[in-house]
Subunit: 234 residues, 2 copies
DNA sequence: GAATTCTTATTTGTATGCAAGTTTGTATTT
DNA sequence: AAATACAAACTTGCATACAAATAAGAATTC
């Protein structure tokens, strides 16, 4: 039986706000209050505060002393550093996987990524999930749970921009090709070549994503301003 | 001017509980309630809860659904993995520092570690602080703030056992010798040698600390039981 | 008309009240 | 005597009330 989450309401609120941030419904710089949220979500301030403080610790929000909450702006330098850390973790994982004697625990990845072209996933959202799972599984297979934990936190933090990578079809097929190559190299214990390919794969994805994000932000800000103009016209 | 912390009371409670855990006043497995704490510290349950949930997210405490709080037991496998991650981060930092053109930002470390024997620190507590600062500065000098953040979190998590390393005098002088060697190698751009020495330096410290921790736990448990016997004698 | 001061409304930090669920001790039964 | 059923006390999750501090706006002064 599934154990009940610790604070059900706080957890729901946490997920709700995070989704709104990820969906660009709450934009960087937007301000709001605890009472706003508790009224809008129909719960009291207590679980709202729990969720907000959690999101603050994770770097999504900031709170002014008795002056309200706001969404922290995007910091692309920070994303660059997160991607850099990610590369380091995954390169280490690859090195260790290539040193494993006997069978590597990568059967699941083979079934997903070493498939015929007509078996490939085409949905952008599912593709984003598969991509995360690929890289996460590499780190998991290396066996250090703390590295896995850090990698998961990091994956969570870059997801907001990373998933935009699969809006273009050619990026989906490129990802399939590169994952297949990396996976084959690891299976053949070609540690160095795999690491080099991984680095360029991630770096490429990073620069693609950056372009799209700037575009999305521009769009969302435009829609917001048009929306607020309509709102203020009443 | 220093900005006021977000939740002053919750922050104080957080520090207080953490100190009690670190000082083995609260032992792994100990149970307590929110009301206990709020009475003992003279504040209401709200800031107490904020602090407890923060400590839970950081892995020090766990809460049962309406059945109280408890201190999570030591997990030496987890400490091993944290030390492993730490080595990886610091090795990467050394590699990058050795690739820096021109002056490396390590002047502060030279002033502390490349000194005559009679200039060396002897106090165990100060030594623990200096040791943390040495390794932290290496990572900081490498320039990636996310790696630094992870390293700091990790440093915080292993501090509870790591600081026990300096209770023996010979460990202090060994640390001085090894830090000096590592630092000189980095300044001479001997990346590989520095990394090897660093790994053995950290591994050595880890095994020393493990022995002492088991001893301390034994002692503390004994004192606790003697204490509770006295308490129950009234 | 611009700057400044004072007032008022807003906002978070903290304390407390209440309800649902768990644990523990006791009494009853086999 | 052991096991089980039951009840009372306890504990957390959530809601609400209150206080201190801030921000915004109005009134006043120069």
């Amino acid at each position: 039986m599934a154990q009940q989450p610790a604070n059900p309401l706080a957890e729901q609120v946490y997920i709700r706000i995070k989704d709104e941030i990820f969906d660009f419904h709450l934009l960087p710089g937007d301000r709001f209050t605890e009472t706003d949220l508790s009224l809008r979500l129909g719960v009291s301030r207590t679980p709202v505060r729990d969720a907000l403080y959690r999101l603050r610790r994770e770097g999504y929000l900031e709170v002014g002393y008795r002056s309200g909450w706001s969404v922290v702006p995007f910091d692309f330098e920070r994303f660059d550093e997160l991607y850099d850390l990610r590369i380091m973790l995954e390169e280490t994982a690859i090195e260790r996987l290539c040193q494993v004697e006997g069978e590597q625990p990568l059967a699941g990845l083979k079934a997903v990524w070493l498939v015929a072209e007509d078996q490939r996933e085409t949905d952008s959202h599912k593709m984003a999930t598969l991509d995360e799972a690929f890289h996460c599984t590499l780190v998991e297979a290396a066996g250090n749970r703390e590295m896995l934990r850090v990698h998961r936190e990091l994956t969570e933090k870059i997801r907001i921009i990373r998933r935009l990578d699969f809006l273009k079809d050619n990026r989906i097929s490129a990802t399939y090709d590169e994952h297949a190559k990396i996976l084959r190299l690891i299976l053949r214990r070609k540690s160095t070549e795999a690491a080099i390919l991984l680095r360029s794969h991630i770096t490429q994805s990073k620069s693609e994503v950056r372009k799209i994000t700037l575009h999305m932000l521009h769009e969302a800000r435009g829609a917001m301003q048009r929306g607020s103009e309509m709102a203020s016209a009443r």
